[in-house]
């Protein structure tokens, strides 16, 4: 189960497991983002390469307009995946 929605404090809240079966939902939401935004991963348990692809595609699109994604409350396991993938160098990431 994966969910993504705008939170009360302006951040985008991601919940559950972002796997390849949930990509369409995640991509559709991210395609609507036009400015710099913060993703709250506090309740995101898991992400696979399919989810990483969504983040990368969005970051590249935003960068063309001088904007960027920030990702906060990242758990240790997802942070390891970011490190393996080199995402810690191309995203502003804050650990839990």
């Amino acid at each position: 189960m994966f969910d993504i929605q705008h939170g009360d404090d302006g951040v985008i809240v991601c919940t559950g497991r972002l796997d390849a079966a949930q990509c369409e939902k995640g991509q559709a939401f991210m395609d609507e983002i036009a400015d710099s935004s913060t993703l709250d991963f506090d309740a995101l348990e898991y992400i696979s390469s399919a989810g990483l692809g969504i983040l990368l595609k969005t970051q590249k699109r935003l960068a063309a307009n001088g904007a960027a994604l920030k990702i906060i409350n990242v758990n240790n396991h997802i942070r390891d995946v970011f490190r393996y993938s080199g995402f810690n160098a191309i995203f502003d990431i804050e650990a839990k």
Binding site: M1, R17, D19, A20, A21, Y46, S48, S49, A50, L52, G53, I54, L56, K57, Q59, K60, A63, N76, H77, V81, Y84, S85, G86, A89, I90
Partner: protein
């Protein structure tokens, strides 16, 4: 324990629940469970993606001991796709040079403690292991 899953990304939730029940019952560490689920998904999705003409289910065998988790995926009527061939991804490339895709096999090769591939008569089998971390 072995179970067959339909060749579709829609099977991923059922695959997660099947594998998780075995890993939890054997008290596999959280870190090892995350890695096993990730490598398992990447392998399954790869099989679905690169053999779209295949129709047979994909067999999944998951076992866990105090020392290690062993996962085997077997598919039938498919072309050869050796996931053990080293995947080169420049993870230090700047954003403008990065392209989505290609990370799946790279992650499998980095997360698994061992990775083996067998192919013959249209049957493709991948086995990986991960220390249980108990």
């Amino acid at each position: 324990m072995e179970k067959a899953f339909a060749r579709s990304n829609d099977s991923l939730t059922a695959i997660y629940e099947f594998a998780e029940s075995i890993l939890a019952a054997n008290e596999v560490s959280d870190a090892a469970r995350f890695s096993v689920h990730l490598a398992l998904e990447e392998l399954f999705v790869n099989m679905v993606k690169y053999n779209p003409e295949a129709v047979s289910d994909i067999d999944l065998d998951v076992s866990a001991t105090a020392n290690k988790v062993t996962v085997t995926l077997t598919e039938y009527g498919v072309a050869e796709f050796d996931v053990t061939v080293p995947k080169k991804v420049d993870v230090n490339a700047p954003l403008e040079e990065r392209t989505p895709g290609g990370l799946g096999v790279y992650l499998i090769q980095n997360l698994a403690d061992s990775l083996e591939y067998e192919y013959g008569d249209g049957q493709s089998r991948v086995t990986f292991t991960k220390e249980s971390g108990i």
